[in-house]
Structure formats: C-alpha cells, structure tokens
C-alpha cells in the first residue's frame, strides 16, 4: 500500500484571511512597482512578487504545506520540468550569434527585399 499516513489537516479560516490580505497587498505593490522605472529590474520585481503570491496560494489555499511528501514531489517535478522547457530553450536564443556577429535578437534587422550585402 501507499506510504500515506496523514489525517486531513484543517486550516483555520484566520490563516486564509491573513493570506488573502497579503495577496491583495502584494497586488497593490506590484502595480505600484510597475510605475517606477527600474530598468531591467522591473520584470524581476514583477515576477518575484508573482512567485511569492503563487507560493502562498499553493502552500495554504491548496494545502500543499500540509500534504504528503508525494504531493510535494509532484509540485517540484512540475516546476523543474517547466524550468527545463523555458531555460534550455532560452539558452539557445541567448547564445545565438549570427554571421555578422550580431547577437540575439537579430530578426528585426532581417529583410530579404534588399540584398543581404547592403
């Protein structure tokens, strides 16, 4: 038989309330941060906040914090494979250099209508 032993864990509503308030606050923060010019950091900040929010939802609303190891393994597998898909594909794009020594992104400079030599 399987290796479960947990009895169902009931999360008190107070925690749910705290989580939803945090989520709302974080939403406000991410909108506010978007109006500040941080350059390349804008996307980093936005995605970090999104990841914190998603983690809170997974851990508490979805009870992952109180779930058996097996569930956690499934979640980690999902994240891991998503990372493979995104980062290994991007590894090709960011390391591409075309024959003129132009790095990715290069497509904007491409046009067949004028001769490539011009």
């Amino acid at each position: 038989m399987s290796e479960h032993e947990h009895s169902e864990h009931i999360v008190p509503p107070g925690i749910y309330l705290a989580i939803i308030i945090t989520l709302m606050v974080l939403t406000t923060v991410t909108v506010a941060a978007a109006f500040v010019n941080l350059g390349r950091l804008n996307i980093v900040v936005a995605l970090t906040i999104a990841t914190v929010k998603a983690t809170l939802v997974v851990l508490f609303f979805m009870h992952a914090k109180y779930s058996p190891k097996r569930t956690k393994l499934v979640i980690m597998a999902g994240i891991f494979w998503l990372a493979i898909l995104l980062f290994m594909t991007l590894s090709d794009y960011v390391s591409r250099i075309d024959y003129r020594g132009v790095r990715f992104p290069i497509s904007q400079n491409y046009s067949l209508s004028h001769s490539p030599r011009s």
Binding site: I10, V11, I20, A50, F61, W81
Partner: protein, 245 residues
C-alpha cells in the same frame, strides 16, 4: 457520481480513494503547468525580441480593469478555500454560500474580461487583417473611451517605438496574439471551473459533502486555485511590461 461517501469498486478504503483523487488532480495540474508553459515560452522569446512592440501593446491595456480582475480572482480563491473549509468542518449551510460567492466572483471576472475584449475589438487590436496598433491614434473619434491625454501619450510612445522597430504593427500583433492566446486559454479554464462549481453547488444543496467525504469540493478547489495562479503570472506579464511613462 451522485453517491454520498461512496466507495468505488476499484478501491479498498475511503482513505485510499481520497488519496488517489487528490494525487490525480495534482498530476493533472502539472500537465496544465506544462500546457501553459509552451505559450509562456513563445511569449518570453517574442517579448525579448520585440520589446518595444510588447511595451506599446501592453500599455494599450487598461491597468484599472486588470487590477480589478486580479483582486476579484484572488477573492474567489479565498471563498473557494472557505468552501473547502466548510465542507471539512461540516458547516452544511456555509458550503453553498461560499460556492455561490465563488461563482459570482468568477462571473464578475468574465464580465470585466468581456468589456476588455470588446474594447480591443473596437480598437482594431484583434490579430488578423484589421489589426492596426495606430488605429486609435489615427482615428480618435472612433475611440472616444480613451481620453485625449492618454491618446497623446500613446501617440508619442508609438512614434518613439517606430524609430527602434519599423515593423511595429506586425510585432504588436504578436503581443496581441500572446494576449488573446494566454487570456483566452485562461478564460477557457475559468469556464470549465465555473461549470464544475455549479455542479458542486447542486451537490452541496443536496447536502452530499460531509467531513468524511468531500473529495469533489477538495479537488475542484485545487483546480480553481491553479487557475488563479495562472492569472497571478499573466497579470504582470501582460499588463505591467513597461508602465513607467
């Protein structure tokens, strides 16, 4: 499917049955992660390649409506969690109440989304032959819902972006392909979720869910929260690319 606390033939104990259902849903959610992963990748590469066009496209979205919808969806996740809690603690009256609230919030989300989609349609921002990122800038009389000041900002932005990317219109269309692809897929999941919630509501009104047996509420809850998580990422990716202007 309509038996309370039924033990299906293939299982030996209720505990095993609940365990199985929950594991099945989690694995299904992982496939959903990969499903959205594909389109996220397409988004990431195009955003990197055509940043100017993506910024311009993003700024034509209404940040107010986007933020409201984010709040609505988060709130619906909260009510869903409460519905699960009610089922777990046997509060029979509260289950349908929280489910109804969740459904209601879901429909508010659809309403706002509808307003947004309709707007894009009027502004010629739906990918296809009529797509024209400069439509509102060139035809202010057709876009009376945008006020003149915002339109001016938009005009400057488009002109500036055109300097860097002469093919702005085509690439802004890619942004909108991503926008409609991602939000459309998300909305499709919401529709399925809403259907499941209505089915749960029927069950809860009949008093089927008890502290001993509430697996459907539990796993539909997982699904609904997942849909919420997708939106948590879509919101900054689509609405907040380059707002600081």
């Amino acid at each position: 499917m309509h038996r309370t606390g039924a033990l299906y033939g293939q299982f030996n104990t209720l505990e095993q049955q609940k365990d199985t259902a929950s594991l099945g849903m989690w694995i299904f959610l992982v496939t959903e992660v990969m499903f959205f992963g594909g389109i996220m990748l397409a988004y990431a590469i195009n955003r990197h390649t055509y940043f100017h066009a993506f910024a311009v496209g993003s700024n034509t979205l209404s940040i107010q409506l986007g933020t409201i919808n984010t709040g609505v969806l988060l709130a619906s996740s909260f009510t869903m969690a409460m519905a699960v809690w009610s089922a777990q603690t046997g509060k029979q009256k509260l289950i349908p109440m929280f489910l109804t609230l969740t459904i209601l919030l879901g429909f508010i989300f659809f309403g706002v989304k509808y307003v947004e989609y309709a707007q894009k349609f009027h502004h010629h921002l739906v990918p296809g032959r009529n797509f024209d990122i400069t439509y509102c800038v060139n035809n202010p009389e057709k876009c009376e819902d945008i006020d003149a000041k915002d339109l001016n900002i938009e005009r400057n932005e488009i002109e500036e972006a055109m300097q860097a990317d002469p093919d702005l219109n085509a690439h802004a269309q890619l942004y909108y392909s991503a926008y409609f692809g991602m939000t459309g897929l998300h909305a499709l999941h919401m529709v399925i979720g809403a259907g499941l919630l209505i089915w749960l509501l029927r069950g809860s009104l009949a008093g089927r869910f008890t502290p001993e047996w509430n697996t459907p509420v539990d796993i539909v809850g997982l699904y609904w929260h997942f849909v919420d998580i997708v939106w948590i990422y879509l919101f900054p990716l689509l609405y907040l690319i380059d707002r600081h202007k």
